[in-house]
Amino acid sequence: MTIPFGNPNRPNSYIGKTVPRPNAARLVEGRGRYVDDMILPRMVHVVYVRSPMAHARITGIDTAEALAVKGVLRVFTGADIAKVCTPWVAVLAHLKGLKSPPEHAIAVDRACWVGEPVAAVVATTRAAAEDGAALVDVDYDPLPVTGDMMTALDADTPVLHADMGDNLAFRRLHEEGDVDAVMASAHKVVSARFKTARHTGVTLEPRSILVDWNAPEGQLTAWHATQAPHMMQTVLAEHLGLPEGRVRVICGDVGGSYGIKVHVYPDEVATAAIAKIMGRPVKFIADRLESFTTDIHARDHEIAGRIAVAEDGEILAFDIDDWTAIGAYSVYPRTSAIEGNQVVNLCGGPYDFKDYRAQTTVVFQNKTPTCQYRAVGHPIAVAVTEGLVDMAAAELGMDPVAIRRRNMYADDCYPVTSPAKMRFEGLSHHASMDKLVALMDYDALRADQAEARKKGIHRGIGIASFIELTNPSPFMYGIGGARISAQDGCTVRMDPDGSLVALSGVTEQGQGTEAMLSQIVAEGVGVPPAQVRIITGDTQVTPYGGGTWASRGAGIGGEAALQAALALKAAILEVAAAMLQAQAGALDIRDGQVVDADTGQDRLSLAELGRIVYFRGDTLPKGLPRELVQTRHFITSEYPFAFTNGVQASYLEVDTDTGIVTLLKHWCVEDCGRIINPQLVDEQIRGGIVQGLGGALFEEIHYDAEGQLLNGSMADYLVPMAGEMPDMIIGHVETPTLESALGAKGAGEAGTAGAPAAVMNAINDALRPLGAQVTEMPFTPERILRALGRIED
């Protein structure tokens, strides 16, 4: 069975339409159920004592005063937890050479970053646990701090983990062609240094976990704000020494993730260990201050880049030297080498060129660990690539749109393999650029810019093309040995009243997974979306799957849902055909009714069919299959990743006296293949753009030389807010993937991937007549004024 997507008037045409989100009213009315809303009998609260030093030997822990606090029940040290919980090592076999030392749930003997847990205080209330935590007396013997990225490998820099030999976690060099020869003979070579600031994904709901160990049942149950329940099931089972089948992870409502909640955090695993020791439910909710020091950080990169171009604007070569510092440990189990690896994979992505060299160098330091955060590596690769392309265009006196059109892969050249050895099934760079230029009225904007400049107003236009990696196959993690599933499954069943329940392995983080699944199932079976209930996030209930990451929910989970729905439809029609003494092929299901496919005439309601199957099965033919429940799993097989593409533009104004940037407008044209829910896709892209704008203008985690985090609060760490956000115009080109019947690719990273580059190029477009250029994010007012040479000190 297939769906004629080309016909918008087909029956049950919910795929491709904006339909209401089934969970929206519940969440808006405050009826969501987050981990912190859960209260269990005998539940206790845990608070972690965290290292105030970036690197120190722990020489003693005195818990007596803490234990004397009313309500405090137990205090645990790293050694206590290590008795029931094994440490982990975050490496993957396919990231050759990646190394990281064993990491404990609570530090044993040595703390390696400010915020690392060094003890846990369990009490009957959170407040009592905090009172106790303040009284745990830890003796520290300071050790040398490794902070700076670029000197981490120098001979005189202290080695953070002696067993590792040096501070190098991972290095990968990719070479294609002869970059040196091309650079030596090219018409122009442009080089620049770029920095992207260390930042973090600030989720509305902080990290949260509630774990109960039911000893007589032999089962551990974790209610967890996570993107990957099945991955967590494996991790908790392995490190607590339990059979996987005796660990149940339940993920209810989640208040935003952005990649922050797809990792294994020491304090969360320690909470599970404490529950197992105490035999009672233990709740841990990260507060906002500890979120800044313990949620994963990301994007801390310094990049030297070169581009070689011919006189006519042809891009000949890119040469990229990327450095990133990942904190004290590679993060389990996805590792902290992926971001740098993505930079190598993605630089130059939209362009048809031949000679490519890229290296990433990943080093340890005494800071909070970094790992995958929304659009992993993309904003960095896109900023470097698009920054260099704009600089080359300026050198050549070319228009930024023209140089991109000169070099982007032709829309009819696919399939094609990039110099980074990424395989593209089908992209639409030129169609997307054409649409963008029309949407923004590029020529009119250039005229407006010129007019403004005459009045001393400095406006700039920035363009950023990009590719986006979605729908990952086992090539992302599975081949490296991680038990992280790239396949996903969905079970769809019909109950006696004709309503449907769909159970999916992908999860809802607030982004609309349930809406997307409900409309796919509704169309696949032939009922209104309101007749479909979606259940996600329970490892003992849903089919096994990977969860939500790398923009896989719609492309992988959606296809599994579609196939399960179509299978259920076939099963229903087989029963209906027997009841109606008709051919199944002559029947269809529309709006919850079995109908004649040709005439659309009602023959039988699903409720009546359900009544017969479940209560009067005696009236049906013996041997008639009557499983009104079907499960299908889906995995991609042709391509390691489904690449998508898009292009963004920013129009902004720079106040050259204060350095303040005012965003005037932003555009994005994106191709995520089949669009299931236009509103959800548009808002994903808008939200992603906002996060990208945060990286471009506001977000930066500061540390001092001693490894102290300096701005760990919402007053000091600036997230983008509504007042500074521009209107965003979103457009689409649809190039469905042929790997699935649904044809959907991912849309979650696009906004974040391209926005920083678009803003950087727009600022530099505004500053170029003044001879200034900025390449260090975020582009603070001060950095812009210093680039302009306006500050006297």
């Binding site: 905090e130 009172d131 600036l718 807010m721 007042g723 007012p781 004024l785």
Partner: protein
């Protein structure tokens, strides 16, 4: 984190509040809008506080005009101040400031008395009342006393309010016919504490210029004021930058803040017509 308060009592009148504060000793903290105090308590930056809630005391909120002065009760909320017609006529500087203070939820709860007693040098109201040459009215166990604004701000979060005293009101002269009041600031985001800001009040007697976000207290820029009275904007900018010594932090360096102060002064000067 969970706050660790020492205790809470709601005062029924001013006398009661002063008694409660007296009993609490140095742990006593006056609570009204709570927009700084509760945040500090929730981060356990302040623990064991004996909270004396004066928010229900009648007569301490609102704006009145009497004897050629405008009197603003300490419990007047930012949002009310911003829409008050007397403030709009005689102290538009304060109304302008309200638009820069945080966000609507905070402006609905925060009070001017709380903001002044908190004495955050990056906040708008302290610099405003300094430029407006206000008088601060205090009540203590031994009675009432007035403090000139020039003597009020002592250091970061430190004022002339003695232990056991409560700031009950401020007063300032009603506006002269040709009086000019203007506030300009630069902030990273709408509602953020300013990287630097200036308040200028021009009266017949001369210009008063104060700066926020550039020191441990709001700064009265007397050198710049003299230059502006002489009509010399270049000299005023030079003098202003010389009399400021802002700290550097993660948002901006001291050098940037000094630069911005000069930029803002030129912009204000252009806006008000550029003559003394």
């Amino acid at each position: 984190m969970k706050a660790s308060a020492g205790g809470y009592a709601r005062a029924s009148d001013l006398r009661h509040a002063l008694d409660l504060l007296g009993q609490a000793g140095d742990a006593g903290r006056v609570l009204v809008g709570g927009q700084s105090l509760i945040a500090a308590m929730n981060m356990r930056l302040s623990t064991g506080d004996m909270l004396v809630d004066i928010s229900r005391i009648s007569g301490l909120a609102g704006v009145t005009q009497q004897d050629g002065r405008l009197r603003i009760g300490a419990l007047t909320r930012h949002a009310d101040l911003g829409g008050d017609p007397l403030v709009g006529r005689h102290a538009p500087l304060l109304a302008q400031a309200v638009g820069h203070i945080a966000h609507a939820a905070i402006r609905n709860r925060g009070t001017i008395g709380g903001a002044l007693a908190h004495a955050d040098p990056a906040a708008e109201f302290p610099a405003c009342v300094l430029a407006l040459d206000a008088t601060m009215h205090l009540e203590g166990p031994d009675g009432a006393r007035d403090v000139a604004v020039g003597d009020f701000f002592i250091d970061v979060f430190e004022t002339a309010i003695a232990e056991g005293e409560i700031l009950t009101a401020i007063s300032l002269p009603v506006a002269e016919p040709a009086e000019v009041q203007i506030l300009k600031e630069v902030a990273r985001r709408s509602g953020d504490y300013a990287l630097a800001g200036l308040c200028l009040v021009r009266r017949a007697a001369g210009v008063r210029l104060s700066a926020l976000g550039v020191g441990s207290v709001p700064v009265l820029a007397q050198g710049a004021m003299a230059a502006l009275d002489a009509g010399d904007i270049d000299a005023a900018v030079t003098a202003l930058r010389a009399e400021l010594d802002p700290q550097s932090d993660t948002q901006a360096s001291g050098g940037y803040r000094k630069h911005i102060a000069g930029v803002l002064l030129r912009r204000i000067w252009d806006e008000i017509g550029g003559t003394a």
